[in-house]
């Protein structure tokens, strides 16, 4: 399944090839685009009348984003690839800026754009270097890199990983996600989180297969970064109160899981553990596919919530399960899936990654088993924390009683719009279930992709380990089906028992308290507090209190904000120090002609001195 197309370009011929890997991502991109378009058609109803917003431009840039992503997947010419990459940035930036009249949206747009430029700069250096040391702009040349100049090859690969990691949202270059996602319209967040960041994953996979394996140390570093990303992502997700910020950070977490898959695959390749390699790649691909489905579903749901309540602060939502039944159901399924719980697709990917990790602990050198153990413990912690995050998210937003008027009385939106949104959400959620129960059906295709990665990676066939993984999956699937059966049986029993018995309705038992419980409910903040106090250093708390002073207190309040440690320690200081350095030179343009002449004179003297000095 590989088609090539040769174009003549200023940079020589550009080969566009659709091999298995490209096809896999192209399918995700195409499906995601279709779903987003469908959903947008409904979501943008509310904006259509408003002259401020141009839906035409929205669809223009959506199409641009789609096509550029597709070009990214199939182009095998470095310059052409970079071009498509930048087009992708342009389109997504313009999409993020859709609600441009809001100040925070503009700020987020600029931040996102700048972050993407940083990433692109890394790629540009890497490709420029590779193009020189391989003598060609074509990816095919990359194969000779490692043999030709190993040190350079490793640095180039590191640069590439940083560049692609920025797009994929790997720590510490993930800080754009929690800014861009809340600012963007829901469908845009959905396609960015569900599809666009996957192009970063694609880049890593493509490069590591084209360049070859850079060795154990590099791979181990990838694993460490991946684990750090997943952990930091999920911890911050627990610390956020904005529905879409939570989802954004959970995207960071899932990128970490995917990268972990890639990392252990690289470790396996480096140590000749083909099972680990196969399992890692398979896990990465599966999780890429699955995250695409449930994250889109979640963002679609968030969009529904926003369009009905115009509220994204969890503390002001609640009880939507009674008013938005459909959305609540889809959101629940997606939440179960994103926690990696069995019977839904989220589990399959993590299961494959776990398989790789356990085989890593069970074999190879001490280093490998330590790396694998790190991944094992980290992934387990991430899973448990994800459960916390999403029970919290779902419980606070959808369950209990409404915490505000906005949540109690929904705005009504056009019937057609709602239908379209629901259709899109239902479709993608159906995929969540289908991929969970029917993982057996997609496994062969994915194994094909993994096999290609193996052969391209010059490690020979991976068919044997893939077969073992397949059998494990089929057994796992049987157990999952058994689980479904048992649950069904129990539900049946329950119904039988309750038949003809009294099922009374009463207020929630609040230990005798009879008042209304809306304001007395457990809050999102307090729900996460015990966990966050355990991981305080990674999500430091900043608390603003207006205490009660006067005998007749007015407006006493407390405001907790959790900030991102990596941003506080790494990216934040970096940015501010650069700005500081620049600000040191503001005096240059003083407006005084004499200063200007002085600059010239000094410079002249310096140059003359250089000449006499014999430069």
């Amino acid at each position: 399944m590989s088609a090539a197309l040769h174009l003549s370009m200023p940079v020589g011929t550009v080969v566009l090839r659709l091999d298995r890997l490209a096809a896999f991502f192209a399918i995700i991109i195409a499906a995601g685009g279709a779903l987003t378009a469908l959903y947008s058609a409904g979501y943008l109803d509310a904006y259509r009348e408003n002259p401020k917003y141009s839906t035409a431009a929205y669809y223009l840039f959506l199409g641009m984003l789609e096509s550029s992503m597709l070009l990214v997947t199939i182009s095998r010419n470095m310059l052409f690839f970079l071009g498509s990459w930048e087009l992708m940035t342009i389109a997504s930036t313009c999409l993020v800026l859709f609600e441009h009249d809001r100040r925070e949206v503009r700020r987020a747009g600029v931040y996102y754009f700048a972050a993407m430029q940083v990433g692109a700069a890394f790629l540009m250096v890497a490709f420029g270097w590779a193009a020189i040391s391989t003598g060609t702009l074509d990816f095919d040349g990359l194969g000779s890199l490692l043999t030709h100049d190993r040190a350079a090859a490793i640095v180039i690969l590191a640069l590439l990983f940083v560049g692609f990691g920025t797009k994929a949202g790997l720590v510490p270059l993930h800080t754009w996600l929690p800014r861009a996602h809340p600012a963007a319209p829901a469908p845009v967040s959905a396609i960015m989180s569900g599809v666009m960041i996957k192009t970063g994953i694609y880049g890593m996979l493509r490069m590591v297969t084209e360049v070859g394996n850079p060795g154990l140390a590099f791979s181990a570093i990838v694993v460490v970064v991946a684990v750090a990303t997943a952990l930091l992502g999920i911890m911050n997700a627990a610390g956020q109160n904005d529905l879409k910020r939570v989802l954004a950070y959970s995207s960071v977490e899932n990128s970490g899981i995917i990268a972990l898959g890639i990392g252990i695959a690289m470790v396996g390749q480096a140590t000749g553990n083909s099972f680990m390699m196969a399992a890692g790649y398979l896990g990465a691909l599966l999780h890429t596919l699955n995250h695409f489905t449930f994250k889109m579903s979640l963002f679609f749901g968030a969009g529904m919530v926003y369009s009905r309540t115009h509220e994204l602060n969890m503390e002001r939502l609640g009880g939507l399960v009674h008013r938005m039944r459909g959305t609540a159901l889809f959101f629940l399924i997606a939440s179960l899936a994103i926690c990696g719980l069995p019977a839904l697709n989220g589990f399959t990917g993590e299961f494959a990654v776990y398989l790789g990790l356990t085989s890593g602990t069970g074999s190879g050198s001490l280093a490998v088993s330590l790396v694998a153990l790190l991944g094992l413990a980290g992934l387990a912690l991430v899973g448990a924390a994800a459960l916390l995050v999403f029970t919290r998210l779902y419980g606070i937003v959808f369950q209990g009683a409404p915490r505000s008027r906005a949540a109690a009385q929904l705005r009504d939106i056009s019937r057609g719009g709602r239908a379209l949104m629901t259709a899109a959400t239902a479709t993608v959620t159906a995929l969540v279930i289908a991929l969970g129960a029917g993982v057996q059906l997609v496994l062969p295709a994915l194994s094909g992709v993994v096999g290609e990665l193996g052969t391209k990676g010059r490690t020979g066939s991976l068919s044997a380990p893939l077969a073992q993984i397949g059998s494990a999956f089929s057994d796992m699937n049987d157990v999952v089906l058994m689980f479904a059966g048992i649950v069904a049986a129990l539900l049946g029993v329950r119904l039988l028992l309750l038949r003809g018995r009294s099922v009374a309705r009463a207020k929630t038992w609040n230990c005798g308290y009879q008042g209304s419980i809306e304001r007395a409910q457990y809050t999102a903040g307090s729900f996460a507090a015990p966990f966050l106090s355990l991981v305080e250093p990674f999500v430091p708390l900043s608390r603003r209190i207006t205490p009660v002073e006067t005998p007749f207190p007015t407006g006493a309040s407390i405001d907790d904000q959790r900030s991102d440690a990596s941003e506080r320690l790494v990216t934040g200081p970096l940015i501010s120090s650069v700005r500081w350095i620049l600000s040191l030179f503001r005096w240059v343009q003083s407006g005084r002609t004499q200063h200007y002449i002085l600059y010239g004179m000094v410079f002249l003297i310096v140059l003359v001195a250089l000449v006499f000095g014999g430069l």
Binding site: A121, M124, L582
Partner: protein
């Protein structure tokens, strides 16, 4: 052809000033731009004729001359057309307007002289001439600010150019028995020259022409002039004049390279190049005036060119692409900024909001041209950027790509911050509502030209760039 290109506009300019008539001025202006466009088309068209077209010992059009002449012609034509809109928006006394048209023509003619002169001192004469003509243009609006800008411009540049002349004298000293300043001869016999005087000369010439090129640390006049001049003039200053002065630098640099002094000249050029990039980054964030912001971006671009030409043939080729693309983008931006200025009546960035709603066409032009200036696809600036980065590695100084791209990313971020803040948000009540085709068509054509260059670099363009790269044969 060459004689026509040089003499006819001189006459036309003089006529325009003497006739003191609106119509005559505009007609002459447009016809001059037509003449230049045709000349450029002819020269770039038969680029295959590698041997430079020479009319005398003093004038010749080699590859790089052709390319830069083409750039100048296009930018000048765009500004000429836009001038019609400008003159309608800013009605002024008839003889003033005639002076404007005449000076525009003479300004272009002076640049044409620089681009086509084959004699170093003659080139100097024309560079100084560009200063004198454009100084008058900068003062067109007769405001205090424009007067200050014009003064700083003419004074700083005159001093700088004077130093360049010192450099030329030093070359004469160093050229010893060669006994002429004809460039073709100097290229040929550069090996015979005295390296010491050559280096000293280059130091002076770098400062002299560097002042006109707007290279840090002698860039100071540039933001003032660009922001206070009428927008069509700013467009020419940024899109054509800087390149023209830069050409002088390149020619002298070529002499040094051929005299095996490349190490020296490259070091100096890289120093000023990175300094310029840095200064641009410093002010890109703190600029409060959008025309000044564009001016700093021009400084950045000149820095890029300086660095590019030090990176061997590949670098020079990339620099040529960069020069053409950036000039068109910058011209389009400055012309558009003129429309913005006319709509909002302020140069302050925070005075401009909701451009996309106030005037959609201008808004989109602004956005697209910004992307072009930032070096994003599908514009040729992106190609140039990548080729320069690659050239770093080709000439063995790959580590320089890191600071280079770092600063460029900073500049891009600054441009985005400013550009977006102007485009979006709620539009205030706009006073001027008159729409004028001449205020949009030139930029649209420029953008189309850019896209066509970027998407499919056509063969004639490719040939032009190659010819420019190996201009000295």
């Amino acid at each position: 052809m060459l004689a026509l290109v040089l003499i006819a506009p001189a006459v036309a300019g003089a006529l325009a000033i003497l006739l003191r008539s609106r119509i005559a001025g505009r007609v002459l202006l447009i016809s001059t731009s037509v003449l230049y466009l045709t000349a450029a088309a002819v020269w770039i068209g038969n680029n295959s004729a590698a041997v430079p077209e020479a009319v005398s010992a003093y004038f010749a059009v080699d590859g790089i001359g052709r390319l830069f002449f083409g750039i100048m012609a296009v930018v000048f034509a765009a500004s000429a057309v836009y001038s019609l809109a400008y003159l309608r928006a800013h009605p002024m006394a008839e003889r003033q307007e005639a002076l404007y048209s005449g000076m525009m023509i003479l300004f272009a003619d002076a640049m044409a002289g620089v681009l086509t002169s084959n004699h170093l001192a003659l080139l100097w004469v024309f560079v100084e001439a560009t200063t004198l003509t454009s100084a008058v243009l900068i003062y067109t609006e007769r405001s205090k600010a424009s007067l200050e800008a014009a003064w700083k411009y003419i004074f700083i540049c005159s001093v700088g150019i004077a130093l360049a002349f010192v450099g030329i004298i030093l070359i004469t000293i160093g050229s010893g028995s060669i006994g002429t300043l004809s460039l073709t001869v100097l290229y040929r016999r550069s090996a015979e020259m005295n390296p010491f005087w050559l280096k000293l000369a280059f130091a002076f010439i770098l400062i002299g022409f560097g002042t006109k090129t707007g290279l840090a640390p002698v860039h100071a006049w540039l933001p003032d002039a660009h922001s206070e001049a009428p927008s069509p003039v700013s467009a020419i200053l940024s899109g054509a004049l800087l390149n023209t002065a830069f050409l002088g630098l390149v020619r002298v640099n070529e002499i040094l390279i051929r005299a095996h002094l490349a190490l020296f000249s490259n070091t100096l050029l890289r120093i000023v190049g990175f300094l310029s990039l840095f200064i641009a980054a410093v002010y890109m964030f703190s600029a409060r005036n959008y025309k000044r912001m564009l001016a700093y971006s021009s400084i950045e671009n000149m820095g890029i060119l300086c660095i590019g030409v030090t990176l061997g043939p590949a670098g020079i080729f990339a620099a040529m692409i960069q020069a053409a693309a950036q000039s068109f983008a910058k011209a389009s931006l400055f012309l558009t900024s003129g429309t913005i200025l006319a709509r909002y009546g302020t140069r302050r960035i925070d005075g401009v909001r909701g451009l996309l709603r106030a005037d959609a066409a201008t808004g989109w032009l602004w956005l697209v041209s910004l992307f072009a200036a930032m070096g994003l696809p599908p514009f040729p600036t992106f190609l140039g950027k990548f080729l320069i980065v690659r050239a770093f590695f080709e000439s063995g100084v790959g580590w320089m790509a890191a600071p280079f791209l770092l600063i460029i990313v900073l500049v891009i971020a600054g441009m985005a911050k400013v550009g977006f803040s102007m485009l979006f948000g709620d539009a205030p009540q706009i006073v001027h509502e008159r729409r004028d085709a001449a205020a949009y068509v030139p930029q649209i054509l420029l953008v189309l030209l850019l896209v066509s260059l970027g998407v499919t670099l056509p063969n004639w363009a490719l040939a032009a760039f190659h010819a420019a790269t190996g201009f000295a044969g």
